[in-house]
Amino acid sequence: MTFVAKPRIHHPHLPLNEIGLTRRDYEGSVSTLCAGCGHDSVSAAIVQACAELSIPPHRFAKVSGIGCSSKTPSYFLDKSHGLNSVHGRMPSVSTGANLANRELFCVGVSGDGDSASIGLGQFAHIVRRRVNMLYIVDNNGTYGLTKGQFSATNDKGSTNKKGVPNLYEPIDLASLALQIGASFVARSFSGDKQQLVPLLKAGLMHRGMAFIDVISPCVAFNNHNGSTKSYEYVRAHSDNVVNVDYVEDHAEITADYDPGTCEDLRMPDGSTLRLYKLDDKFDVHDRVGALNYLQRRQEEGEVVTGLLYVDPDAADCHDILDTVPTPLNALTEADLCPGNANLERVNESFR
């Protein structure tokens, strides 16, 4: 953490986005996390993604639980809505927020403890319900806030700082999300913004449950030789399958890739996801194949990163529940009150 506040002034040539804001306008208060924490890079990536998408900050809702990761919403978009909720209960609060106002960009930030231990049940059910949100897990494999115990995502056999090995099988949240209904699943690394920022943009614009598992090293407790979630290990064992570019409908696609490895996916809002396949063996539309690939590579000690699965046309929670298209907070009394005649008819049907 730092005691020196970040000065307000910025580079004289910092670009403005479509709504006249600079990237700096999307920042929050100064981080109190440890120096070098991967979570701060994730926050910076969220800032960059939102600035590049020109999201009006007041159209943004950030929700979190408890833990180092869950502190981070204070450190980005300080002009947006936010709630730092109860441990493991971010999904409930996010569900409520999204149901009440379906027009907000709803982002949940959670950690491996918050989502894979105390909140595993909540995690599973919000994914099942396909709430239209971006669910980010800052995954460092350790309980940083309580000084470095193994978390449920820590790989079996990897050690703590003192060399004691972990005896339990890891929970892979990305696999779980694939299995139970997420229509956008990705994994990335806090130390690779080139990959992470486009994934965040795509996840934000995806309609339905978008889940991103971000390996985010804990410099204080889990960045040593025996760790499989250190900067060095992840860089050495990263298996990048599909990169994306989020392309807004009016923008021209200029990235220079071999056309054979590219695929454009239309999104329901008219924009395009451009996919760059880095591995022939991987198909981003094959949920079961992705699941198998992920598990097999994990057995081999590799970390699969990139976009793992996407279905742009999948139904989301609002489709399933058949809710009204208007946000609930914008419904007027006339919309909400059925009138005496209708009420009589409803009551009659129960007699």
Binding site: T2, V4, I9, D40, S190, Y231
Partner: protein
Amino acid sequence: MQPTNIFDPNYFHKVVDCQWACPAHTAVPEYIRMIAQGRYTEAYMLNWDSNVFPGILGRTCDRPCEPACRRVRTEEKPVAICRLKRVAADHKGDISAYLPKVPTNKNGKRIALLGAGPASLVVARDLLPFGYTVLMFDRDPVGGGMMRSQIPAFRLPADVLEEEVDLILDMGVECHFGYDIASMKDMLDMDFDAYFVGTGAPRGRDLDLPGRAESAEHISIGIDWLSSVAFGHTTAIEGKVIVMGGGNTAMDCCRTSKRLGAESVSVVVRSAFEVMKASDWEKEDAMSEGIPIINNRPPKQFVHENGKLKGVVFECVKAEQAEDGRLTYVASGDPDVFIEADHVLMAIGQENHCPWIERDIGIVFDKWDCPVLDEVTFQSTNEKVFFGGDSAFGPENIIWAAAHAHEAAISIDLYCRGLDLKDNRPPEGVNLVSTKMGMHEWSYDAEHDPRARLIVPHANKRQALDNIKIEVELGFDLRLAAKEAQRCLNCDVQTVFTDRLCIECDACVDICPMDCISFIENAEEAELRTRLMAPAMNAGQDLYVSGDLPTGRVMVKDEDVCLHCGLCAERCPTNAWDMQTSVVHIPQLGS
């Protein structure tokens, strides 16, 4: 790009924009920190060491440091460096313990200094502690040269001038004042071991226009007139005054005229306002005293009647930008204007002029009548004779004179010791010292202060215009000085990067408020400049490039708008970034 060699003394020196721009390379941020700490005496001595006249320069310097100040690029106005220097001088304590000791046993070498201005005084100060016998010759009855004769008392009070001049003379200079140097040949015949010519640029330019000769009695050369005011020969000027010229001498002439009783004063300049040579603050001060500056009016003729000046006729021109960007002047089509005048002061430039140096004694002059000198050693074609200050390369200012004089003193010493003047010069160097004191503790105040530049209080205008001896600027008081000192960005506290410690966590990139830091694939400089977090468009500022990192990328830092806030080092988990004070060693005699 190749990794940056930060041990090249020039690399970090260049990052300290003010120090780099200063001809004498005064360690500006260091003395501003001392002022912030209330250590005025030490701040004064740090200045005295490099520029020798902190009290004088704190009032009169041309301030090349201020337009260079990083604050101009990050915000708008530079730190008031010059006026902070004055604070150190105004509030210093007893400096005697800090002064160099002059040995009583001399080394047997006798050096003649011609002229008693800033250049000669600095040479004297540099030579005396090493046992040289120094004799100073000047036609004026007292020392100080142009600092005394051309800078009016309302900008530089006599006691401030005398204190700093006497400090040097009292070190043991043998003064021969009131000595009219008529012949360099005679001086050479006195057989000194070396000579230093610091006689300035004493000839004011004149204009040969119709009516000039007939009105001679009512036309004065600016610097000569200022000099006669300084020595009390002129105490009044009557009627309407026109000052011709757009430099600082013109500003001094018009403001002096106003104080000596002129009925009206106007400055008439042949060129446009923006390209006038006078410093901005000098123009502002003149205008705030109610003196109009009339631009784009080249003079045509002096109008006289029976030997009495009536006024001056000026042409009207307008400035046009030529293809090469320079301004050219064409007739505007307006009729000529006549401005009434009883007296004209000509302040249209000055030149060096050494009629007393015979041209057959081995000192070669070029076609502009300047001595042919070695630019490093300041040695003339006569190996015993060295030049410095305005007499070397033409009119500059006090701070350039000090810079020349330090180099000339080194040369004179080497020459007297029979050593090679170039091979044996002391080298520049740089020391880097960490400012890290502990967790989140740095030995400098890293926090960025967004305050705007403070304004120096002025004396009551009516009283100031009544008395030429009342100093117009009052200087910062200690409270204002402490506030202004906080605006300094501490550019000498460097961001030093150790590539083998970096784990590429991006923490520095994320926290940097100015987007100075990027981790990218290496390329040629021109390409790198376009690919950074924020484009590095100021080619005058270097890129700091690391060696290869484990991912194959390099760290590239654009030095241009770095605030030296230390957040990169605060956020770095491995101390790959450290904030280190760079102390640049500028050679002087004895270093």
